[in-house]
């Protein structure tokens, strides 16, 4: 048996899924899209059931990828029963999706989630009456506390075994006439959709279905245009809006019939936004929260990183001693260890605390507040408020930053946000800025590099948004209420995100390290110096910088560590002038993102965009380093 979970965003659907599924759940992409769904096997009264968590959508009749894919999944797979999770505290809104689900000719169970929240808002809901009106089982649920989960799945199993589809909602007479007219001329061509559902979808202007049907039955196109036009003349609105508005209305009537509004107590959560979205206190608390966030991660990270690195250095040394008679193997082993330790040093100490912190801020409902506060500023660089998150994360590590661009709907916004996020100096590049510029030239020079970096990012944003203008009007964002997330949900989310890194970026890092170790063994790495000669000449840097720059692509801090080897001096001030230090650091801050980031870029945006971003960063790095060289020559 297969059960599909569907519901609107923030209805607590994923909380329910995580309650029953556990961490073995598999996340997949709908082919050709970034829309993901999650699957898991669940045991219900001894029977093993496939549970699919579809993406949260408000409607199935829209045109965005999540809506289309959810619809296609339900009608094209053998879904035995649909569990429709509805937020009981916003029942009218939730039921409009239920209206659409009732049209799919699949058994449906409605789970009224967040009953506790509805109660605290003074709402009383007559569940049995709603069940009678809808004609499908309605069960109360508090997914966050696990209450009602068992009953829900038992009910779903029963409904699935009976297999009786519910009756669909009835529209007003003219719409029903139109549906029947289209249904008759359809002749069952809409399969696997039922003829009635096919007719409704066609009236709603489902293009893909329209093209499919008209290829075998050209007369239907004319008939459809005529019917839609008729509705437009009668109602003064396009048919899809008429149908949506009717569903909206039916849902509102249902909610009106079963919900009683008692006394509503305002609680502490309603007051929070008076501070967090305040024109002054809001920005102040944003700064404090972000400081705490980064402080927490660095503290935790540095506690974990030291012993980890010491442990791996120990092993590397031992392996090297054993392998002294075989220099090739020794080189290979050190490359292998470099890749393994590199991944561990990024993943365990920083990436996971980062992802845990991000999931926490997301689940508690703070991320949308940041978007609200920063929207005006982000528009200056051609993006909107939601794109602020990749930037903030970028200062820690570009990997979660690029992953978080997924929350942007428009492809153009994702591309631009990812490009700009890779220009944000991550913790590893911070090490270069501090190890070279702050150490030898003082903290103000380091601060100068950070300010210069912000300037370059803003400039790049403006230039790119001139080339690819914004086509969406901007920020549309639902503000969820503040909720205390469960530790389990936060950890699970962090694991889901982190695991992509472990299985994709880390192997790439290890392979990359092995290839470089072979090149080192064959003394081929000096080729890099020769290849980068035009660059080092242009920037006025010693030719030896080729090797550390290329190794820096593996891990950014290598561009500092290897520089020491390459120049042959422990004290940089002997080998480099202040101007050279600044020029080199600025180039390192901007040029090609590290291999781990490149892997994530490829996953999120595809190979072409990954390459174009890498190429762009080289151009930006060269121009920025030239500018920095000129500015620095004036100062030093």
């Amino acid at each position: 048996m297969r059960i599909a979970l569907i519901g609107q965003p923030n209805c607590g659907k994923s909380t329910l899924f995580n309650q029953v599924a556990g961490y073995r759940a598999e996340t997949g992409n709908f082919s050709g899209t970034t829309v993901t769904f999650t699957e898991s096997k669940v045991r219900v009264r001894g029977e093993v059931v496939e549970l699919v968590d579809l993406p949260g959508t408000y409607t199935l009749s829209g045109t965005n990828p999540a809506e289309r894919e959810s619809f296609c999944y339900i009608v094209s797979h053998q879904v035995d029963v649909i569990i429709n999770v509805v937020d009981a505290s916003h029942l009218a809104q939730g039921l409009s999706l239920t209206m659409e689900l009732l049209e799919l000719s699949r058994p449906v169970v409605v789970a009224m989630n967040m009953m506790d929240e509805a109660a605290s808002r003074g709402l009383t809901i007559d569940g049995p009456e709603l069940q009678r009106l809808l004609g499908v089982p309605v069960l109360p649920l508090v997914a966050s506390k696990g209450r009602g989960v068992q009953n829900l799945f038992v009910a779903a199993q029963q409904v699935g075994q009976n297999g009786n589809p519910p009756a669909r909602p009835v529209y007003s007479r003219d719409v029903e006439q139109a549906i029947q007219a289209v249904r008759l001329s359809l002749n069952g061509q809409a399969a696997p959709l039922s003829p009635e559902l096919g007719a409704i979808r066609l009236l709603e202007g489902d293009r893909a279905l329209g093209e499919r049907v008209s290829s075998t039955n050209p007369t239907i196109t004319a008939m459809l245009i005529q019917t839609r036009q008729h509705i437009f003349q009668e109602r003064g609105q396009q048919a899809e809006w008429v149908i949506s508005a009717e569903r909206h209305g039916m849902a509102a009537n249902l909610a009106h019939a079963v919900v009683q509004q008692g006394e509503c107590r305002t609680n502490w959560r309603d007051r929070l936004d008076d501070i967090f979205l305040h024109p002054v206190w809001g920005y102040l608390s944003l700064v404090i929260i972000l400081l705490l966030f980064f402080q927490g991660i660095y503290r935790l990270g540095s506690i974990l990183e030291q012993p980890l690195l010491a442990f791996f250095d120990g092993i590397t040394l031992q392996v090297a001693t054993v392998l002294v008679p075989w220099p090739f193997l020794a080189e290979l082993a050190s490359g292998l260890m470099l890749g393994i330790a590199g991944g561990l040093a990024i993943v365990l100490p920083y990436l996971f605390p980062f992802l845990i912190g991000l999931s926490f801020l997301e689940d508690i409902g703070y991320l949308p507040r940041i978007a609200f506060l920063m929207d005006a500023l982000m528009h200056r660089i051609g993006l909107h408020g939601k794109a602020v998150v990749p930037f903030i994360l970028g200062y820690g590590c570009n990997v979660p930053a690029v992953m978080s661009t997924r929350m942007l709907e428009e492809r153009r916004d994702r591309y631009l946000a990812a490009t700009l996020a890779t220009l944000v100096p991550c913790a590893a590049r911070l090490a270069v800025v501090f190890g070279l510029v702050a150490f030898y030239l003082g903290p103000y020079a380091a601060l100068g590099i950070y300010l210069f970096n912000l300037f370059v990012i803003a400039l790049t944003g403006r230039v790119i948004s001139k080339l690819i203008p914004e086509d969406s009007p901007g920020l549309i964002l639902e503000m969820p209420v503040y909720r205390m997330p469960s530790l389990r949900a936060v950890l699970q989310k962090a694991w889901f995100r982190g695991r992509e890194f472990i299985f994709e970026a880390w192997p790439a890092l290890i392979i990359g390290s092995l290839i470089f170790s072979i090149m080192t063994y064959l003394n081929l790495e000096v080729i890099f110096n020769a290849l980068l000669l035009p660059l080092s000449w242009l920037l006025g840097l010693p030719p030896q910088i080729g090797v550390p720059l290329v190794f820096g692509i593996l891990r950014k801090e290598l561009s500092l560590i290897m520089l020491r080897q390459a120049l042959g001096f422990v004290d940089f001030s002997v080998a480099l002038t202040p101007v050279q230090m600044i020029t080199y650091t600025v180039f390192v801050v901007f040029y090609i993102p590290c291999l781990a980031t490149l892997t994530v870029l490829k996953r999120e945006l595809g190979r072409r965009d990954m390459l174009s971003i890498a190429g762009l960063t080289v151009i930006i790095a060269t121009l920025a380093a030239l500018a920095a060289r000129m500015i620095a020559s004036l100062i030093y």
Partner: protein, 67 residues
């Protein structure tokens, strides 16, 4: 201030976007607050809160509704 949505300007994709959030002409909204510097406006629509950026808010035709 209470307003009623009259029409969504700005093309089909914007209307679709509003529809996919469950927002339709005829819905009423209460304006809660603005962010500074032409930032977004925060509104309450049937108990749900939405932030609309400047460019988005410009495309929503509304009429003031008496309380």
């Amino acid at each position: 201030m209470m307003v009623r949505f009259v029409r969504f300007h700005g093309g089909e994709s914007f209307q679709q976007k509003m529809l996919s959030l469950g927002l339709l002409p005829g819905d009423t909204a209460r304006v809660i607050r603005h962010a500074p510097m032409n930032g977004p406006v925060l509104v309450d629509i049937a108990g749900r809160e939405f932030a609309f950026g400047w460019g988005v808010a410009e495309k929503i035709e509304v009429e003031e509704c008496p309380l």
